[in-house]
């Protein structure tokens, strides 16, 4: 059954086109949508280890607000959403997140139009895609045809 769509994002970057597509897809497939924000430790303030509680708490607030804004449009259309934040090694955190949940049918990359650096330069997500439970999709604006 096609029920669950996951939008994966990194380091607080959101590709609005991907979010728009996730909403349209969920609407026509009658699916629920989960947002997962993965934040690498390195992208936090360098001093975060020293003041981890404060840094994580600030991040939590910021991402929480961001996710709430993203979810608003979905909820208005009657699409159930959930959101999660994971801090650490993004690839490992993604796999842990997936292992804890029933399977998703579609994964959408929600941070950029393409995976940064491309598959050749080895973005972690491109490498992770080989081990995912379903295909990962990137979304970009259509070039006029």
């Amino acid at each position: 059954m096609f029920k669950r769509v996951l939008v994966v994002m990194e380091n607080e970057k959101v590709n609005t086109q991907a979010v728009y597509y996730a909403r349209e897809l969920a609407q026509r497939m009658d699916s629920e949508v989960s947002f997962l924000m993965l934040v690498e430790m390195a992208s936090l303030d360098r001093t975060w280890l020293g003041s981890s509680r404060g840094a994580i708490s600030e991040l939590d607030d910021r991402v929480g607000r961001q996710m709430a804004e993203l979810s608003e449009d979905f909820l208005r259309l009657g699409i159930a959403t959930s959101a999660a934040l994971r801090v650490g090694d993004p690839k490992q955190e993604l796999f842990k997140f997936l292992a804890e949940r029933p399977p998703f049918q579609v994964l959408i990359w929600g941070s950029h139009e393409e995976l940064p650096g491309g598959a050749s330069r080895g973005h972690w997500m491109a490498k992770a895609a080989a081990s995912l439970e379903c295909p990962l999709w990137t979304v970009s604006s259509r070039r006029s045809s």
């Binding site: 059954m1 096609f2 897809l25 049918q105 995976l115 598959a119 604006s141 259509r142």
Partner: protein, 460 residues
Amino acid sequence: MAPDSPTPHNPAPTGRIMVVDDEGTALKNLRRILEKEGHQVSTYSNPVRALELLKREAFDVLLSDLRMPHMDGLELLDQAKLIDPGLEVVIITGYASLNGAVEATKKGAYHFLAKPFTPDQVRAVVAEALALKLSRDQAHALEQEQSQEQGPLIIGQSPQMRRVAEVVAQIAPTGCNVLIMGESGTGKELAARAIHAQSQCAGGPFVAFNCAALNAELMENELFGHEKGAYTGAGEAKAGLLEAAQGGTIFLDEIGEMPQAMQVKLLRALQEREVLRVGGTEPIGLQLRVVAATARDLKAEVGLGAFRQDLYYRLNVVSLQLPRLAERGDDIQLLAYFFLGMFNQRMHKEIRGLGGRALDLLNSYAYPGNVRELANIMERAVALCGQDMITERDLPPDLAAVELASFSRPGGEEPTLEELERRYIEHILEITGGVRTRAAAILGIDRVSLWRKMKKFSLE
């Protein structure tokens, strides 16, 4: 009459074309242009005579002038459509009057050719009309076939889907367990139903169960049933789904999600060919076929220890890989027309087809949700469409707005010949109750060869 399908050597479809025009020169020109394209062309300057022929012979496309002395093009269109509602009509007009065009549209003419026209314009409009007729004829043929056949139909003319249909036809009568692999929405349950419908147990039940829907405890109760008083609230004995599928097929969807504890119990039931209800002491014999399906790479799951290897081999006697819709080329158009017919009927509409731009968008979209997504898109389009053709406006806006690219895991690995041989021997030994003489006879080898193979594959 159906136009000839395009082939790699003949990219544009050809068909039987009737041309009606009171001007002899125009008729001659049109005949020359169309015959060069490989069409069979009949020309008439008198529309009444053209209609007489239309009653006797089938044509794919009618090209008619709008203004003629004996009968105008719109009247001809009316009568021609009464004779053959599937006929595609191209109205040729030197008077590009809006009224004429609107009226012709209402009467079901979709194609127009304005005078003066170039040979390229003629070729293009006829090719478009033929392509539309071809898609409609194929979708109609599929509907007919589906209503006549007992089982569900695997729709598709692509090489991948032809291969799927062939494999289904080959494996259905054997009775062996089948593992169907494919992404969500590729039609795994439909394939399972087709296997059941073409099998020797087609008269028996087909029971579908989703292994991701319940936890281990509820799943055991559902699959194995329970005896009266097995637990609080079990006031009556209840047969499980395995028993319900007795003499037929059980379809275990999303088998990769089955909890480990249940995998052991299912394996035991399949090995022993009997089931023990929860709280029961008397085993009940099972005679059924198992068709399992998964969107996961089950072999990789076995490697990771998430799925039992023995159960994997028990279920995967034969595997069937269903392709993604985006890999199926022309099937998108064929399925779009199939769904158009289906939803037209359901919603009491008479939408004739899909406009060129709408078709382009459907053909270029990636379909993460596969056939199910296309069906949903077509259902929405038919519901929204207020004209006689589906246009871009009736399709979801994201189809025109975004472009998708996929990073997918490598497809499920095909089993090696040796693996297949091992599984098949195991299956034959199972159905012969381990009687080697009978197994060897079915396999077409002598007993010594069978013994050697059993030793090689550790099947003793």
